[in-house]
Every structure is written in structure tokens, then in C-alpha cells.
Symmetry: C2
DNA sequence: TTGAAAGCGATACCAA
DNA sequence: TTGGTATCGCTTTCAA
């Protein structure tokens, strides 16, 4: 038992004295307890390749267990020059859209033993840039930006600059949809999905639609709107009105109420740019005493879980959000990641019963 | 311009050569660029108290900006002995219950300039313990455990042990509800809320209820069930059946279907232990051709956003989840945090129209 | 295989 | 105020 160092103050004892509180045991403590060198302790506890004698290995493991040792991730990160974290930026974690994406990211990270750090942009470009900058400090392996990009908001360029800087030093950036930004993109083919939806709706006999969208320039919204328009018009329909707000339920409700005030003919189809917005519109319709479905039809986009819980169930385009999140994660760690746009699928439900029944 | 060190290799240049790729600029680089000492650069960039001459401060800031310097958080953490992170454990981030809690935590963390690390337990006790242990390695300032605790599952003790260990070395643990665990607790008075709900339901004339709960021993579920029972019975009602599953929508639907197969009288009240479960039950009722409300009434708990979107809107108990998350965060950083249980409120909606109309 | 020692990027004490 | 330097906890060469 190669002890015999009792007289020497261990670093952590010194620290204890200073802070007057127990600090977590260090590798040093473990090594001393096991009577081996720091290097050896490191090798058995955290080193990858095994090249430590069995007897030593046991001693070290035992010491670590009895001390309740856990490697200090920060210290490892500074020593290794790389930290085991993936940063995820979402607009709003309480929104099911982002919740689902986050769950996919978390699943992937977990598989790789990585930690997910999460931050909320609240859809504020300035805030977003600030957050990316702060996150850079963590030197994450990857940074996933799931908040929706705008087309060319100048305030956005601050974010892009930060992302570029991040990427310049080896960080991997993953965004959703091209957006002109740095790095890899996981593609949700919003345009094609919306086009298919528009076509289906025209086939059901709808000819006049009101779209409830986000602000002009918000890519996701623009793509979905353009796609829907193309498909719907190809089928003989026309989008007669486009109302603009944001992606929240309240926005959908408010805009729908406004549209109703201006008059909405029976047989009109309301296209919410996301399910959440569509569901907001549905509630406004109900409040106004209009029947969703037979009177005014509604469709959305995303297929979030609650789209099947509303009555009538919401017609929408299924986006495999959790898988999207998972792919975003993969894009962050796979050297040769490549992923064709994930398949989107129109799901027709009772909120669009069709016009010529 | 105190340069003149051109011949000396800077540490990061050495590193560049080794890795053959640009690494993020270090404080060292900034100091050299600005012609000041490491210490001075540190003081202006990251130090708290200002005691640097204006001219130096400017030089350093300029150098930092031109280099795109961001302090390495890991290095700061190891040097300072404390890392700016809060760890959050949730069962399922795609569940609105946890999504809302997470948003509250994120808001608080943001206010304090802390980073939130998130991990998913999937309601698996063994996994949970593993995760807590891994998270310990980050030496977070606080650890918020939002997954539901069981009464005395032995597998749970592993988690408790890890939490204790974490707390022993100065980490702050926050859990939801007593649970016998280490640390602080933010209280959701499930029992009282459910009791009030039970009383209200009895007042509406309901006399027979079916409860759809989670497994026995899951604290949240047990408390809500006991409370509901007490209130409902006090009002003259009786819970005739308790079905057990988990907190997911599918569980609510499956259990409801099963109950229907065994027969459910008109006028029965179904109490879902959470809104998500109740909404699952509603869809099963609909699928079975039963009318929610007039025929079979349904109530839930939590008041998640979609509870107003379903038809009929769901009667429930409002839990200020985002605020709960915020409080959990505060508990993690405030030295003298103290918070009485947050007020819960019964919200009667159309899913329980009352029996004697 | 093992251990000594030189980093990693930063903080903070201490003397100037 | 400033700069030199010990230190934080850990990894990883390099000799032995």
C-alpha cells in the first residue's frame, strides 16, 4: 500500500480549508487513495485504451467508488480541448413543434454520451445572436439552430456572423432549411409538402382559401405559403387572403377573428401555416359560432400530437419532427452525414370534409 | 506597443500546428495582440471589478473583438471552481407538462446568465440514476429533477444516492414535491387541488367516477387520486374504479377503452390524472361513439394549453407550470429561497356540464 | 505498464 | 493599476 504521504497536504484539503466546505473529490484524491499515480488513475477511469494492470485497475476503481468520484467535465474539456456538448437553440421549448425536435436531439445526444444545452430565442433576432455568442463560449461540438430564420432581416446577420465565427473554429452548425447560413442543413421540404396539401384540398373541392401566415420573410412560412398556393391554384383554387402574424396559437385566433369580421363565406378553407396556428383559428371559429368542417374547413401543417385531439381532427401535413431533431443531431456529429429531405405526408382528417359531398 | 515576442511561438499556434486547424483564440492571444499581460486581459474581459486603465481596457477590447474572442467556459469553470450551469431532468421534453416547466427554468437561467443542460429520463429509474451521475460531472450549480418520483421504488434509491452525493459537495438539488429526496422542493399541492376538483365535481351532481391513474406509488398520481377521492366522497360521490397506466396519452386512451369494454354508465365522470391522459380518454370515448360531456363527463389536471382546444373544452385544475419551473430555478440559486405552494385553481369547462341540468 | 511533468485556458493572489 | 505566476482538475506525451 504505497501510502506514506499523510503529512503532505493534498490539494483538495487545502481547498477545503479555504472554502470551509467539502469539495468534490478529484482524480488526485482517488490516485492518492489508491496509491497510484495521477496518470494511472486517469487511464483507468477516463482513458480510452486499456493498458493498466488488473490489480491497479481494481484499486483505482475501488477508491473512486468509495470516494464517490465523478470526473470533472469542465476540466476534462479544457485538457482535451473539446467539450461533450451540443447546443440547441429553439424559439420556444413549450411549443410542441420545438419540444418534439428537442426530444429527437436529446435522443441522439444520449446515444453518443453527449450533453444537450438548451436556449430559448423567443424569436428575437438580437437575443438569438447574443445567445449564439454565449453558447460559443462552451465550445460545443455542434450548434443546432431550430428557430426559424427570416429571409434577410439585417438583425439576422448578427446571428449569421456569430455562426460563421463558431464554424471557423471547428464547430459544426446545423440549421433547418437553407437560410443562407453556415454549415449543414436538415431539410424539411415545406414547399413540396404544402403543395401536396394544396392539391389535395383542391381535389376535395375547395376553391377559396384564407391563409394565416407568419410575417413575410420568415422562411418556413413563405415556403409553406408558396407551396400551398401553387398546389391549390394548380387544382383550380385561389388563396384570396393572406393574414400575417406569428407562429403562436393566439396569433391564429386573433387573425381568424379578424378575418371573420371582414366576412368568410361558407365553404372557405382556412390554411394555418402550422397546426398550432390552425388550432388557434379553429377556436376563433367556434367562438364565432361557425362550424369547423362543414361550414369553414381548416387545415394546418406539422401534425403535432394535439392535431388529432381537436374536434374535428385537423387535416395537416405530417412532419416527422422528432426524427428531424435526430437528424439534426446526426448532422452535428457524423463526418459524412447526408440526408435527403425527410418525407412529408398529407394527412386528411375531418376538418376538411370536402365540398361536394 | 509592447510587442516584440514575434519569435516566440504562442501556445495556440503550437496547437494549430498540431491539429492542423484553427482553434478558437485564447485569452493569451488577446493579451499578446493587445500588448498587455494575461492578467490584465482577464480583468477587462471577464473580471468583475473594474480596475484597469481606460487605454488598456480599450486596447484589450479591441483586440478581443478583432480576434473574435469568446472566453472558454470550461476553462473558466475549472479555474473558478464553479460552472455556470443548471441541469434539468425531465421525463419527456415533448410532453407539454415538462415543456412548460422547462420554459420556466430556461427563463430564470437566462436572467442569471446561466446555461441549462437538459436530459431525458424516459421515466426509467435506472436511466435516471445514470443521468444524475453523468450530470454530476458537470458540477452544475443546481440540479432540477422534474421527473415524477415514486414512493419507494428501490431502483429509485440509486437516484437518491446520486442526488445525496451531489448535494454533499455543494450542489443544490430541487425536486418536485417532498419525495423524501435531498434538497429543496417546489410544492405543487396536488392533493388540495384534486380535492377541490372532486368537490366541484360532486357539486355538479356527479356521483360515480372512474379514475385513470399512473402506477401505484407514483407520488403525483397518488396525491391527486387521494385528493380527488376525498373531495368527491365528501360531496357524496364515489370513485368506483381506478385504472392504472402511465402519464401518456396512449395510456389514457387504452385504459378508457378497457373501461368502456367493461361498461361505463351514462353520467359517469372520468378523472384523468393529467390533462394528457384525460385527452387520451376523450379520444377513446369518441372512438367508441360516446359523447364527452352529456354522456360521459371528463376532467383532468394541469391545464396544459391543449385542454382548451379539445371539444368539449376540458375541466381541469390549473397548475402554473411555467411559474413552477421558474420557482424551481430560483430554488436553485437563491440562498434564502422560500416559496409557499403555488395556488391551484379549478377550471370548470364544458367537458363536465353537470348532471342535473 | 507506470509515473513525472508539461500542457489546456483561464483565475486570482501577491509583489512591484 | 499592472504583471508574474501558482493553481484549478485533468490529459497526454515522454522516459524509465
Amino acid at each position: 500500500m504505497l501510502r506514506g504521504m499523510e503529512l503532505q497536504e493534498s490539494p483538495s484539503r487545502t481547498r477545503q480549508a479555504r472554502h470551509a466546505r467539502a469539495a468534490a473529490p478529484t482524480l488526485h484524491d482517488v490516485a492518492r487513495e489508491a496509491g497510484v499515480s495521477l496518470a494511472t488513475a486517469s487511464r483507468v477511469l477516463n482513458g480510452s485504451e486499456r493498458k493498466v494492470a488488473e490489480s491497479y485497475r481494481e484499486r483505482v476503481e475501488q477508491a473512486a467508488a468509495s470516494l464517490g468520484y465523478t470526473a470533472n467535465v469542465s476540466a476534462q474539456a479544457t485538457a482535451r480541448g473539446t467539450s461533450p456538448v451540443i447546443a440547441l437553440l429553439v424559439a420556444d421549448i413549450a411549443d410542441p413543434y420545438f419540444g418534439l425536435i428537442a426530444s429527437g436531439v436529446a435522443r441522439g445526444a444520449d446515444e453518443q454520451g453527449l450533453v444537450v444545452t438548451i436556449a430559448i430565442t423567443e424569436r428575437d433576432p438580437a437575443r438569438e445572436a447574443r445567445i449564439v455568442r454565449a453558447l460559443r463560449g462552451q465550445r460545443p461540438q455542434g450548434l443546432i439552430l431550430a428557430a426559424s430564420r427570416t429571409q434577410e432581416d439585417p438583425a439576422d446577420s448578427a446571428t449569421v456572423a456569430e455562426l460563421t465565427e463558431f464554424a471557423r473554429f471547428g464547430g459544426r452548425v446545423v440549421t433547418f432549411g437553407e437560410g443562407g447560413a453556415e454549415g449543414r442543413h436538415v431539410e424539411i421540404d415545406n414547399r413540396a409538402g404544402a403543395e401536396a396539401l394544396g392539391r389535395s384540398m383542391a381535389e376535395l373541392g375547395y376553391r377559396s382559401a384564407v391563409a394565416i401566415a407568419a410575417a413575410e420573410g420568415v422562411r418556413t412560412s413563405d415556403d409553406r405559403l408558396a407551396g400551398f398556393r401553387a398546389g391549390f391554384e394548380a387544382g383550380g383554387g385561389a388563396v384570396h387572403r393572406v393574414l400575417r402574424g406569428d407562429f403562436r396559437k393566439e396569433s391564429g385566433a386573433a387573425l381568424m377573428t379578424q378575418a371573420l369580421a371582414e366576412g368568410v363565406e361558407p365553404g372557405t378553407l382556412v390554411f394555418g401555416l402550422s397546426d398550432v396556428v390552425a388550432i388557434g383559428a379553429m377556436s376563433a371559429l367556434r367562438d364565432a359560432g361557425r362550424a369547423v368542417g362543414a361550414d369553414v374547413a381548416v387545415c394546418g401543417f406539422d401534425d403535432v400530437p394535439s392535431s388529432v385531439d381537436v374536434t374535428p381532427a385537423l387535416t395537416t401535413v405530417r412532419v416527422p419532427l422528432s426524427e428531424v431533431g435526430y437528424q439534426a443531431f446526426r448532422a452535428t456529429v457524423d463526418a459524412d452525414w447526408e440526408q435527403p429531405p425527410l418525407p412529408l405526408e398529407v394527412v386528411v382528417r375531418d376538418s376538411t370534409p370536402g365540398l361536394r359531398r
